[in-house]
């Protein structure tokens, strides 16, 4: 466990040693504001909640989390630092966890920086803090699941562009499984139980309850086990 700490620190601070971290935070916040206020009609909705913002997160994450996660392993492979990392006294699992947790903490930071919007909501109306908090919990958990997938994908290639594209594709599939349009199309060819089963693997299905203030252990377990399974595959590919 203690071997994870230095890896975590290096990776997390690494976001701020280059412009990457700052650019990411700026883009994430700008996109959140634009989506929530202008596209989502934050003011028109007349509700003191961030539901409009949270509803966009599955889509925002689809592009931004592959962007944050694409370098995780690809860059180590391209620059050869992976050889340095894996001749230090750390196991593959420790390295995978250290890097993953650092990236997750960075994403959580990005998500929590939208908190001023929550303050605005509180100022303008009388928000349900329970719903707000469960929205944040859900967002951070969902970010963790997206990131797990992206971390695994980035271990497959030393090319960051390929890493980004395959991460996006994998996340897109996981997201689309829950969309009704997509499922209606699927039910033409598959039996209902199969469609329901597939929808059960979707980010959006499991995220929806959080935005309504419900923290269902099933959803928590889904996000955590998806992240866990991706990281398991991540370790397997690296040890190959």
């Amino acid at each position: 466990m203690s071997q994870i700490t230095p890896l975590f620190k290096r990776e997390f601070l690494g976001y701020f040693r280059s412009p990457v971290g700052y650019v990411f935070l700026a883009v994430f916040l700008t996109a959140s504001v634009i989506l929530a206020f202008f596209v989502g009609g934050f003011f028109r909705s007349n509700t003191a909640s961030l539901e409009t913002l949270f509803n966009f997160y599955p889509w925002l994450f689809l592009f931004l989390i592959p962007a944050a996660g694409m370098r995780l392993w690809s860059e180590e492979k391209r620059t050869g630092t992976i050889e340095l990392l894996f001749t230090l006294p750390v196991t593959t699992l420790q390295a995978v966890l250290g890097k993953y947790l650092a990236a997750w903490a960075f994403l959580a930071l990005a998500i929590l920086l939208s908190f001023p919007m929550a303050i605005t909501v509180a100022y303008l109306g009388d928000p349900d803090w329970g719903v707000l908090i469960s929205g944040y919990v859900g967002s951070i958990l969902m970010a963790g699941a997206y990131l797990g997938v992206c971390s695994f994908m980035s271990a497959l290639t030393k090319n960051q562009v390929i890493s980004f594209v395959i991460s996006l594709l994998a996340c897109l599939i996981l997201l689309f499984l829950g969309l009704s349009i997509f499922n209606n199309a699927l039910s033409a060819v598959l039996p209902t139980w199969a469609v329901d089963l597939l929808a059960n693997f979707s980010f959006s299905t499991h995220f929806a309850a959080f935005t309504k203030g419900i923290i269902d252990p099933k959803d928590v377990v889904y996000f955590l086990s998806l992240a866990g399974f991706s990281l398991f595959l991540n370790v397997v590919v690296l040890e190959r």
């Binding site: 071997q3 040693r17 050869g80 630092t81 050889e83 340095l84 230090l88 006294p89 750390v90």
Partner: protein, 240 residues
């Protein structure tokens, strides 16, 4: 100290390393020679636990690298070919990170190890500079400093003097020579004078196999009066 037993590495159907066996005792400096693509770096990567051997193993200080890679990694200082490092970190930050993962957890212990390594490799003038902005020779020295940092009983150095100016080459050679009394050292090189100057034993590998394993004096005696590179050429000629 280092026992290499029948190491084999297959890349597809190509035998990059084809049954390499040798031992290195404490106090020995082993010069690892061979034409480009002979399998020197691949052998070193297997000894240091970065690559899984297809067959065979290496025992370092009593620990089998295929059984307990982390124990082996703890005892080895490794300079990979072309000295990879995290470019966005400064020399100080980078060596601090290495020290921390090598188990120097307190700030004082870390600083003293880093200062020692920086002193040995004359990195003081650039310690606050990011590694990506360093010249090739300085980058090489950072890699060397990183390998020496924890004062390991075993050093594995892949072309340690590559890219250094003549003064630094001499400096690094005498450093290795002085340290070697209580260490086992393997170094690969293309400079035959280096072997004459510091190595206590020479191994030449060619097409993944050991073709010579003897003292530099014996090696010279193969063709008295001839230049070393002439002897080298006659032994590895099949390798084109």
């Amino acid at each position: 100290m280092i026992e290499v037993k029948g190491l084999v590495k297959l890349y597809g159907s190509k035998r990059a390393v084809d049954g390499v066996t040798f031992t290195v005792k404490r106090g020995e400096i082993l010069g690892f020679l061979g034409p480009n693509g002979a399998g020197k770096s691949t052998t070193m990567k297997m000894i240091t636990g970065f690559l899984q051997p297809t067959a065979g193993t290496a025992i370092v200080d009593g620990h089998d690298v295929t059984q307990d890679p982390v124990a082996v990694k703890r005892r080895i200082g490794y300079l990979p070919e072309s000295a990879p490092a995290y470019g966005e970190m400064t020399v100080d930050e980078f060596l601090g990170f290495i020290a921390e993962t090598r188990g120097f957890r307190s700030a004082e212990a870390r600083t003293s190890q880093v200062n020692r390594a920086i002193g040995l490799t004359h990195l003081d003038p650039v310690r606050k500079q990011t590694i990506e902005t360093l010249s090739k020779g300085y980058k090489q020295r950072v890699g060397f400093a990183q390998a020496l940092l924890h004062d390991p009983p075993v050093l594995v150095l892949d072309e340690p003097t590559d890219g250094l100016d003549p003064n630094q080459k001499n400096e690094v050679r005498s450093l290795i020579k002085n340290m070697a009394t209580e260490k086992a050292v393997i170094l690969s090189t293309h400079i035959l004078e280096e072997v004459e100057a510091i190595c206590t034993r020479v191994i030449i590998i060619s097409q993944g196999r050991v073709v010579v394993d003897e003292t530099p004096a014996k090696f010279q005696a193969r063709q008295p009066g001839a230049r070393l590179d002439a002897i080298f050429r006659s032994l590895t000629q099949s390798d084109v």
